[in-house]
């Protein structure tokens, strides 16, 4: 398959992830949006890697998966902490500090 197809798909994934972070109120779904963004990046990396016949992209994608796991762990822990105090993960309700 031509690399361009993969690139378009990767950008679509990235965009869906971005939309998820920006438009959803539920912090959990926002976190899923971030995972989609990272996967978009990974897909682009692997597509380029295949085109160039260069394995650096694979290693990069590997590292990003590890990084996504670390990020998800910390993010979910913060979510649990927020939920424990406020009984909500709704970002629009988390407004103790406006103005």
């Amino acid at each position: 398959m031509p690399t361009t197809y993969y690139l378009v798909l990767s950008f679509v994934l990235f965009l869906i992830g971005t939309a998820g972070v920006l438009l959803r109120r539920n912090a959990l779904i926002a976190l899923m949006g971030i995972e989609l963004q990272l996967n978009g990046g990974n897909l682009a990396m692997l597509a380029f890697s295949r085109e160039l016949g260069d394995l650096k992209g694979h290693v990069f994608a590997f590292i990003i998966i590890a990084l996504a796991a670390a990020e998800a762990a910390v993010g979910l822990a913060i979510l649990v902490a927020l939920f424990r105090g406020r009984q909500t993960v709704n970002l629009d309700e988390a407004t103790l500090m406006k103005r």
């Binding site: 398959m1 438009l23 995972e35 394995l55």
Partner: protein, 208 residues
């Protein structure tokens, strides 16, 4: 894979996987119920693993299923079990954010335009021998990428310890602070003179 152009089979496989990926990704961010969302995310990751395999990235495809669809998603499901709540109004349609997403869509159109014109429509040639295998990736990872491999251990340590620090219950601390206050009050009381009573014994250790 033929070198000249994509075969029909490739086309069909990619088309199906790409459609499913996009569909499940959209499903993820539009569902009201987080459990449905996370299941769609798992499906997205499985389809992506298939796409990775079609890019000769077999090792990454396995990792994708193991780590992403396996470990990370289990973490998500656990957290959803702790705090499962359905939302009344799931979307936060603030003008600036919608504008941001629209700008992204515009960028997408531009990119499709540019990419389809700018880059050759050709399929990349056959991958080198052993491309995407564990041995080849291990070779790059432990030679050129030795430092990132080592330093990411610090990142993982921070994530492990940090996750525990942030999410563990603070009942113990509250108890400790209360005990401290309590002790303080008793000490203060002990300094007061009560007529007709002997001074209170200073034994704060017994209180919790």
């Amino acid at each position: 894979m033929s070198a000249g152009g994509a075969t029909t089979v490739d086309m069909v496989v990619f088309g199906v996987l790409a459609t499913l990926t996009t569909f499940f990704a959209l499903f993820t961010i539009t569902r009201r119920n987080p459990v449905t969302a996370v299941m769609s995310l798992v499906a997205t990751f499985f389809c992506l693993a298939g796409i990775y395999a079609s890019l000769s990235a077999h090792f990454l495809a396995v990792i994708q299923v193991l780590v992403y669809a396996g470990a990370i998603m289990v973490l998500f499901i656990f957290v959803i079990m702790i705090l499962n709540r359905e939302e009344v109004a799931p979307f936060s349609l603030r003008p600036l954010r919608v504008l941001g997403v629209l700008a992204g869509v515009y960028l997408l159109v531009k990119i499709i335009d540019v990419v389809t014109v700018g880059l050759p429509e050709a399929v990349p040639g056959a991958a080198p021998d052993g491309f995407g295998t564990v041995a080849a990736i291990g070779d790059v990872l432990f030679r050129d990428f030795l430092y990132p491999f080592e330093s990411i251990s610090v990142l993982l340590l921070v994530a492990i310890v940090g996750g525990v620090v942030v999410s563990r219950s603070h009942q113990k601390e509250v108890a400790a602070v209360e005990a401290h206050d309590y002790r303080h009050q008793i000490e203060e009381l002990a300094h007061h003179d009560y007529p007709g009573e002997p001074p209170a014994p200073a034994a704060p250790e017994g209180y919790h």
